[in-house]
Symmetry: C2
Subunit: 329 residues, 2 copies
């Protein structure tokens, strides 16, 4: 059985709105167990009204919340009774718990995860979402590290490969984000990383990827520093949103039939390009699986990230990361 | 009268395919004069068949081409008789010529422009396209400089402001591309640039802009290093293309009416988001107006960049750049 910790606090939506997503996840998968951190009083009535296997869920009563207004490093020290800190401690102290899941403050989740769970070795952990393009791929890093050295980009590549391997991809292909496909393109760090990646992962590395081709490259893993990754990811999201908006605007002059068809298509597209609605970003490089979904996450988001955590735990994400980084178990 | 140099060589399309765009431009604007560099034999027959005012055009016969396969620094030295080198020399040597326009190799145009026309002062010139979002804005830099210091970003801001002023924008608003809207976001260079921009252009600077909001920010100028600019620009282009493709694909299951409407809308969108079809990127910081349009540019591209050059010459782009950079005339 895969055990995960679900922190229902710190998000835009309340625990009572999110708990049904946890119930859906356990009802759909008898092999998953969820520890739920939330104020018991807030969710008890709703829980009692729902049908589920009691052996797959345990609520840990919790009334202290870390929010986006808290300073991450300070909150983690001062709010020892918060759902975030208690949840991560629980995860750290129990070998049979695989993952910690949250829709709370990104900064607080990152900082607290690193402090409490520790990194697998002396590396910088990276935040990696899955994007749906020609195929599903991950971008490593997407915001945890704004300035990166060459060796850090190489670690990101190794962790990204482990991530996609844990998702079942055989020999994941790695692309390096740059301002041109040629190997001479990029700043000094990118150019050196290109040469190193060719050497250390000849079977995985497929060369540079340009912004234009991010969504349609052959890469399973796109490697970049957190600043470039953040710009690329958010630009994809923003542009898809603007294009959808423009089409919707234009469709107002069309017949009702056209308007209906377009609304339907845009809804389809939204689920594809709004990387926040499905799953969350994984923090690669700490000793447990940590998934951070969007602050505006809803019940379905929790169902989705519990499934995601289940897959990654079954795929031994942390073990694969250690292996790829050459860490002795 | 505004005089411009049109280099019709080095592009994907042949001079004979491009010349009609030049003719259209002069037929629509009696106040513009074009020097055309191309093999006279290739275009003579077509030129003779067209109706235009002979006092607005002069062909400079030229048979040497610099292509994408040439190494820019080498080509510029070795191909003295190329249309690129001859055109830039003509531009440099005649005070009454305002601009040089090309669809040729970006690297060759940049290198040759800097060597021949020289920079207005000791700065790094920047390549800046116009993007259509909520409003038209420019991104400086978009690929000429992959690594930038703080003072270079400040120069980009000053030149970007001059660019938009020359296009008629009063008090252009400047945004700084970063991984978050808060002033503490970004790498050290971005964070320092943020503080400096607040000081040196308090009436223009409006803060950081995220990837998500590039297209819908209030900025007239978005400042970033050439690597980030290239990633952002190409990601916008790539994402818009993928979204359009997905919608087209989905529309295949719809009625003929819906398909027709959607094709029409996508064509509209294309002209908006394919930054190459309309106008070109301006090389800011050299002593004449240099516009580099897409290698796949067609006749209409030349009409468009001649109009663009006309506007910028009338708006005294180079004078405004010098003024904003504090260069004594």
């Amino acid at each position: 059985m895969i055990k995960v910790v679900c922190d229902l606090m710190g998000a835009d939506n309340k625990p009572i709105d999110l708990i049904s997503g946890v119930i859906d996840a356990i009802n759909n998968n008898p092999d998953v167990f969820c520890y739920v951190l939330a104020p018991l009083n807030d969710i008890k009535e709703k829980l009692d009204s729902m049908s589920y296997n009691k052996n797959q869920l345990e609520v840990i009563d919790c009334n202290v919340e870390i929010t986006n207004y808290d300073i991450p490093t300070k909150a983690f020290r001062e709010k020892k009774d918060s759902s975030l800190v208690k949840g991560l401690n629980l995860c750290r102290d129990n070998d049979d718990i695989s993952a910690f899941l949250s829709c709370g403050s990104t900064g607080a989740v990152l900082v607290s995860s690193v402090f409490i769970l520790k990194t697998v070795t002396h590396i910088r952990p990276a935040l990696s979402p899955i994007i749906a393009g020609k195929k599903e791929f991950c971008i490593v890093d997407c915001g945890a590290n704004v300035d990166c050295r060459v060796d850090q980009l190489l670690d990101f590549a190794k962790m990204g490969v482990a991530y996609m391997e844990a998702r079942g991809v055989l020999t994941p292909k790695v692309g390096l984000l740059s301002n041109g496909a040629e190997e001479k393109k990029g700043n000094d760090v990118i150019k050196e990383a290109h040469q190193e990646l060719k050497k250390i992962m000849p079977n995985n590395f497929i060369g540079n990827v340009e912004g234009k081709n991010i969504l349609y490259s052959d890469s399973d893993v796109i490697v970049c520093d957190g600043l470039m990754g953040n710009i690329a990811l958010k630009t994809i999201e923003g542009t898809a949103g603007v294009v959808a908006k423009e089409i919707l605007e234009m469709s107002k002059n069309e017949s009702l039939e056209v308007q209906k068809s377009i609304s339907k298509m845009l809804l389809n597209l939204r689920s594809k390009f709004d990387y926040n609605t499905q799953g969350g970003a994984v923090l690669l490089g700490v000793n447990k699986i940590v998934i951070k979904a969007h602050g505006a996450g809803v019940a379905e988001t929790f169902t989705s990230i519990i499934n995601q955590a289940y897959t990654l735990a079954k795929g031994d994400l942390v073990g694969k990361i250690k292996k790829n980084l050459g860490v002795e178990e």
